[in-house]
Amino acid sequence: MLDLVWLVPALPLTGFLLIVLFGRKLGDPFAGVLATTMTAASFVVVAGIYFELLSLPSEERKHVVTLFSWIPVGGLQVDMALLADPLSITMALFVTGIGALIHLYAIGYMHGDAKFPKFFMYLNLFIFSMLMLVMGENLLVTFLGWEGVGACSYFLISFWHTRDSAAAAGKKAFVTNRVGDWGMLVAMFMAFAAVGTLSYEGINHAAESGSLAAVTATGIAMMLFVGACGKSAQLPLFIWLPDAMEGPTPVSALIHAATMVTSGVFLLTRMAPVLHAAYPWSSDVIATVGALTALFAATIAVAQTDIKKVLAYSTVSQLGFMFLAIGSGAYVAAIFHMVTHAFFKALLFMGSGSVIHGMHHEQDMRRMGALRKVMPITAITFIIGWLAIAGVPPFSGFWSKDEILLYAFANNRFLYFIGVLAALLTAFYMTRQVIMVFFGEARWNDHAEENGAHGDHTPHESPWTMTAPLVVLSGLAITGGVMQLPFSKETHWLEHWLEPVVHHSEANIKGTWAYDNKWLLLGLAVIIATAGIAASIAVYAKGKFKAVEPQLLADAWRYDSSISAFVGGPGRKAFDAVAAFDAHIVDGAVVGVGTEVRAASGLLRKVQSGLVRSYAAIIGIGAVLVLAWFLLRGVL
């Protein structure tokens, strides 16, 4: 089974190719069924590989399948190879599993769309790229997937490209990602220059054995972090993620909640030994950026009115938590949170999609309310997701967030405090969202006539293709915490599973005050979650306090407009200066060469008189000279 690991990306790729060729013939819904089947089959293969890895002892859980030699150029030998080890299989499991559920959901959501087959073509291509990313054996295969998911993100965000805002959002996402990709490329160059190979085995081994200088390791780590910031939407490159909500909701659920945005976290965990070999301040940078992003995005989410935008900023915030974990050396906690976040965030997005679908594409929360009465399944599953993200035990989000905060406290108290604040706000704004959407007064009839609605626009529950995945994911959101329970060493299953990958670099917090008092911190986490929920209920449900939603927060601290102002003003002037330099000096030099040559040839042209006799004379002179040479050759 382990040798069949190439099947895992091959199945979605086949799905993609089949839909490219026969998509229009298959149509709605068979194109979607095909795509879903391919992804589900891929999941089955991954599960098989998982069980086979489990049967091996811990040190041997690493299998490389080389498909072919991709770039054999002198010193650079890169193979197209896939690596099946605990980390990649964990990622592949939830990518294909949640991916299959979202494919099923999308069959219902995209029903009736004119470009139905195209959507699933892109979805399968995305799954293929993501699998190449996580299962790559070297940085270049990962980069192939990295670029692939970026491209698919662009395709899918601007899927309804006739809408200007969607097309612009797609471009914004791609360009911002590109800035991050630069970082990853530079990191690859540095790694190759220092170690001579791009494979994870080689680089990590060099980092662990100490042959990678701390300076180089820091450079590589920081550049990888730039790439991660772009892909995983951290400060300052997060601005594309809220705009990416222009894409259809299954896209938001799959790409911008569960999978693509976690690539950065995955990459840093994969290169954990390099981070460990770098200067300590680099980890601090990562942790600080993560914590600040978490807080920053949480503040913005408090003031959003679009149901998907709240979740988008929430994603940015939760990703900030994951980077906080990585910066604190808690790779297992980061992966743990990544998996639980995938469960509940995908659930929340799909739930919001169900709401939007039921509300006939109304996305403004101010026009919703009391939807639990007409959409019961959606409501219950959404509530489960809410409890998970808010950090209420025993739901999965509580355990993962608590683990992160524990390691953060052991590393840096100040960052812990910021994380706590962000967690508080998370509970607050998520409760606000649940209340506004599912409880309270039904506001969908207010001003309905003015907003162009007509006929009976009472919201309705969604079809089974959309609610079934919600139920499955809610089950996972409830039970997911089992992976890593803090009760004893034996229940740290995820930690044992990931040990071969991160054991060298995982921070050891045994003996710190935090570790000894972890139950205290756990209780504190419960209190924070409850406090956030209670405050939100007090403001939005009971109306005891006035809702504070400043416009500054709604505008996302005017981040976008300040960038536009800078680029439009001084930025533009700089660009114009460079363009003028190119046109006049660089082009001028080139043209100048041409002019000089022309002048010289104008002079030489006069030799060609066209008169046959002068040609004969010149030939004669040449002949005389040659004869003279022959004669004198013997003499001289």
């Binding site: 008169l611 006799r613 002068s614 004379a617 004669g620 002179i621 002949a623 005389v624 004869l627 003279a628 004669l631």
Partner: protein, 179 residues
């Protein structure tokens, strides 16, 4: 005796050559050429190359010069060319330099190697010069022995030249045909 023949033949050759380059009337120049060709033929005979002398007279003087005269008459270029003026001012000095240079270099080469080359003129080989047709025999043996392929090729060459020239020089009925 050979000296006398040499002097006369040389006079013919050089006289005819000077005539070719100085006569402004092309017909006169053609006749001077004939004088040169005859002189060369005489010199061939004095080298015991009788066959070549005959071919020289028949082909060169008899056919080629006649061709020249035909074309002169055909095109009516018997109008004289003014040899006194020269539009390209540098041409005459340049031509003088070239010809004097060529002559000088060749003379220098010949004089340097006169031990090797300066043999008495008198036929190729005493033994082979025994019979009157010795030259023909030897020549024929060489041409049709070692050089028969070249011989065949030259016949093809003649054929090609004739066909090409016929095609090239015909008057084409339609208008606007290029040279």
């Amino acid at each position: 005796m050979e000296l006398f023949v040499f002097v006369v033949a040389a006079a013919m050759v050089l006289g005819g050559a000077i005539g070719v380059i100085t006569r402004s009337n092309p017909v006169h120049a053609a006749l001077s050429l004939v004088l040169t060709l005859f002189g060369i033929a005489v010199m061939f005979v004095s080298h015991d190359a009788q066959f070549l002398a005959a071919v020289q007279v028949i082909v060169y003087a008899g056919a080629i010069v006649v061709l020249f005269l035909f074309v002169i008459m055909l095109l009516g270029v018997d109008r004289t060319e003014d040899v006194n003026i020269e539009p390209i001012t540098v041409q005459r000095p340049l031509a003088l330099i070239v010809s004097v240079g060529v002559i000088g270099i060749i003379i220098a080469a010949v004089v340097t190697s006169r031990e090797v080359l300066g043999r008495k003129v008198g036929g190729l080989d005493e033994t082979t010069m025994s019979s009157p047709d010795a030259n023909i025999r030897q020549l024929a043996r060489e041409i049709f022995g070692n050089n028969v392929f070249a011989f065949e090729l030259t016949s093809v060459l003649l054929l090609v030249a004739v066909i090409g020239t016929v095609l090239m020089a015909r008057r084409v009925k339609s208008s606007g045909v290029g040279k």
